[in-house]
Symmetry: C2
């Protein structure tokens, strides 16, 4: 039973907004899931969206605002003072969502919001969360969790759970701590229903609980939750004391975001802040032009490189005809290789330490792929030469130059494509920056040098 | 507390295997998480891995075998008969894992395994699951779930839960059905602990349960679970009768797999069956060479296109120098555009219906990006011409040709890159096939025609 936002639905809401029929309006949105309501707020005109948003129950508004795309959210909150944000929205948030939203506010508003959070406990928690880098486990965690002491009984678990049931939406696991608040184990919720309440926690909990340190990277969070099929991952400090927990829904969002940013970097552009449809024309040009210009300047060395061989080209124009074919083959191979390596690194399938194994393997792959294209390339020239004499009487030599160059360029492109991401990773940079266009540019420039060097050697005193 | 597979650990296990000290071996692996044990089985030599695997308790072996990379799994099961697979492994699987594994077995073994499943109920469930396409919700679902009738009480929920607690690892939600087994609502597990057991289910359950039809696409599963932050999604038939459920861990795996396959297609290659490090050299060459050859043949039209302009090149060799620069700019822009559109389609951010809006927008972006590169391109030629006379006395005209071509090629590349994925999607094909290398190839060939046409017009009777 999912709600689809039909045009009729949307028009009906617009009508109610226009006629300021508030009661009917609230009635109409009452049964809509917050995630759907967020989509509606995104599709309405800004004025309409603000009108509707300001009339929602604070609790619902708080749920909805988290689901609205960021740019629309900024607009919706445009009229809100820091005090209003604190009192009407933040109060209803989980600590992680509260910290995330506050972190994104402009400096001045941020202070005002923090100062206006009345619940001392919540303010303290948010302030703590704000100290973590958003790319770490600490930056992803929420403070809300259900924990019991290892010396208590299952009855205490039930009590603790009832105490927090309103505050925590998705409780799957109860965490067990020792005297020093160190995490020692976990109890799945279903155990509460299948064991007697008099049973000591000691006898029930699973001591093999998987956890993560707050300073560890988000990618490690993803890796652990995926590998061990977790729905909740406890976060501890370096001494093992329980700090918070991360739930799977946050990780799914984080994975999607990370994948999209990686894909954009791999296509040779800056990662967009908002989604494609929510990015302004200006933002799009800004994020794309930077890398395009860098690539253009890099690629302009092809003109320089070819300049050195201008005389040869003048003597054997036929050489120029194969320039795009030869260099693009290196670029395509490099694009495959860099994508394979970037993905394998992201998935934890390979590590930088294995570079030597990868190097040897990609040498073999490069040689085989290069041979395949070399044979096809020579074949094409041989076949064409039967029908035209565009390649002249020395077509066999031309074919040989093209074939040898293809072998060299494909091997070279494959090695650049596979080793560059490893090098970037080793230097602590994002391997995805070693994008297909970047690799292609490097290979284009060097590929031309390979091509004309081979040509100079084989055609000297024959054609050039 | 996660286990890291140290070299020492691995060597210790190898020693125990070599000396056939079975008891100590089983003791050594007893506390290792199945996911880690799977990694160990992957890192051992095949003989060692088989020795260890065959000695594991059936229940543990069943858990481990699901986590082992597919190629190693095939090897481990190489010695197993269909009967052994059925009795020692399948029996301990959830229905979804059982069906997935059986679906991957060779035809003959598959029949034998199915015939040897003793539990009639399980065999029926697996047979049912095998009828669904693996790209649909039905193909992803498991039959194990906890359901109660809407007319029962919370006590019945607890009873039902206890009855299934052993069989179902991760119970988060109890589903509520009516007389016809139609899904009418859900009860979060924590409600069992916060309401009296005498309360009727009717008063507790949430009727706004989100579900999916069995024939719907996996992408819709992902979309729903992400959008509504679900850990479990019930699956129904077309009449709303409850068939099974999908859990978030399966979706996380599916998302990662899908993203990796997309990335590989977008890099101009076939999607690998196994991970990078588990793919054989031969598999790698096979998956990469196909597209490389297609792209090579496509790109070889650049030689044909340039052949038409051979006379012009002979008269103005300087034109050849800018060929790589001009065409790669179109390719790079196209690569950005196609990635943006493919990702936005995959995330449900845009639909094919919006093509006209996208077309107009990408026209603007393309013109702006083209102008930026045109200015830089002209500037480069102007600056160089102050120091060398490589571009001759007509450098302004050459600069103008390059600048105009850049504008045209970048705009063209941007439009091809953004509209081609939409076209593929419209035709029911995978938009990711419209890879950056593919777009670059199309743009290279057409870009050359643009370049030499502009040159013919502007340089006629001056240089050529």
């Amino acid at each position: 039973m999912t709600f689809t936002i039909s045009k009729a639905n949307l028009e009906r809401l617009q009508e109610l907004v226009a006629q300021q029929r508030d009661e009917e309006l609230l009635e109409a949105v009452r049964d809509i899931h917050p995630a759907d309501l967020a989509e509606i707020l995104d599709q309405l005109d800004l004025k309409e969206a603000q009108y509707l948003f300001e009339r929602l129950e604070p609790e619902l508004a708080a749920e909805v605002v988290l689901e609205v795309p960021e740019d629309r959210r900024d607009d919706l909150l445009g009229n809100y003072t820091g005090k209003e944000i604190a009192e009407e929205l933040i109060e209803h948030f989980d600590s992680d969502d509260a910290a995330d939203m506050i972190a994104e506010l402009p400096e001045g508003v941020r202070e005002e919001v923090l100062a206006n959070i009345e619940d001392q406990e919540q303010r303290k928690e948010i302030n703590e969360l704000l100290t973590y880098d958003e790319r770490t486990a600490g930056g992803l965690m929420a403070k809300e969790l259900v924990k019991v002491h290892a010396d208590s009984s299952m009855l205490e678990c039930v009590r603790e759970l009832r105490r927090h049931a309103d505050l925590i939406d998705d409780i799957y696991v109860i965490l067990v701590v020792d005297d020093h608040d160190r995490l020692v184990g976990s109890i799945p919720l279903k155990a509460l229903l299948t064991t007697s309440l008099r049973t000591p926690v000691k006898e029930v909990y699973d001591p093999d609980v998987i956890s993560i340190k707050a300073h560890e990277d988000v990618e490690e969070v993803n890796r652990l939750m995926e590998k061990y099929d977790l729905v909740m991952l406890p976060v501890t400090d370096d001494r093992g004391r329980l700090l918070g927990r991360i739930t799977i829904d946050d990780v799914v969002d984080a994975i999607r975001e990370e994948e999209t940013e990686d894909a954009q970097r791999m296509a040779g552009m800056g990662a967009l802040e908002y989604s494609y449809s929510h990015s302004s024309l200006w933002e799009m040009v800004k994020k794309r032009s930077g890398w395009l210009v860098v690539l253009f300047i890099g690629e302009s060395f092809t003109a320089t490189a070819m300049g050195f061989f201008e005389d040869q080209i003048a003597k054997a124009v036929v050489l120029a005809l194969f320039v795009p074919l030869v260099i693009s083959s290196g670029g395509n191979t490099g694009s495959q290789a860099s994508t394979l390596i970037i993905r394998a690194l992201a998935l934890g399938d390979i590590t930088v330490k294995e570079w030597w194994r990868i190097f040897r393997r990609e040498c073999s792959v490069g040689v085989i792929l290069g041979l395949i294209l070399a044979v096809i390339g020579y074949g094409r020239i041989a076949v064409w030469s039967q029908f035209t004499d565009i390649y002249g009487q020395h077509w066999q030599l031309i074919g040989l130059v093209v074939a040898l160059t293809l072998l060299g360029v494909v091997l070279w492109g494959n090695l650049v494509g596979s080793l560059f991401p490893l090098l970037l990773k080793r230097l602590g940079l994002d391997p995805a920056t070693s994008s297909a266009p970047f690799v292609a540019t490097v290979v284009d420039v060097t590929g031309l040098v390979i091509y004309f060097s081979v040509a100079s050697m084989l055609l000297r005193e024959i054609l050039i």
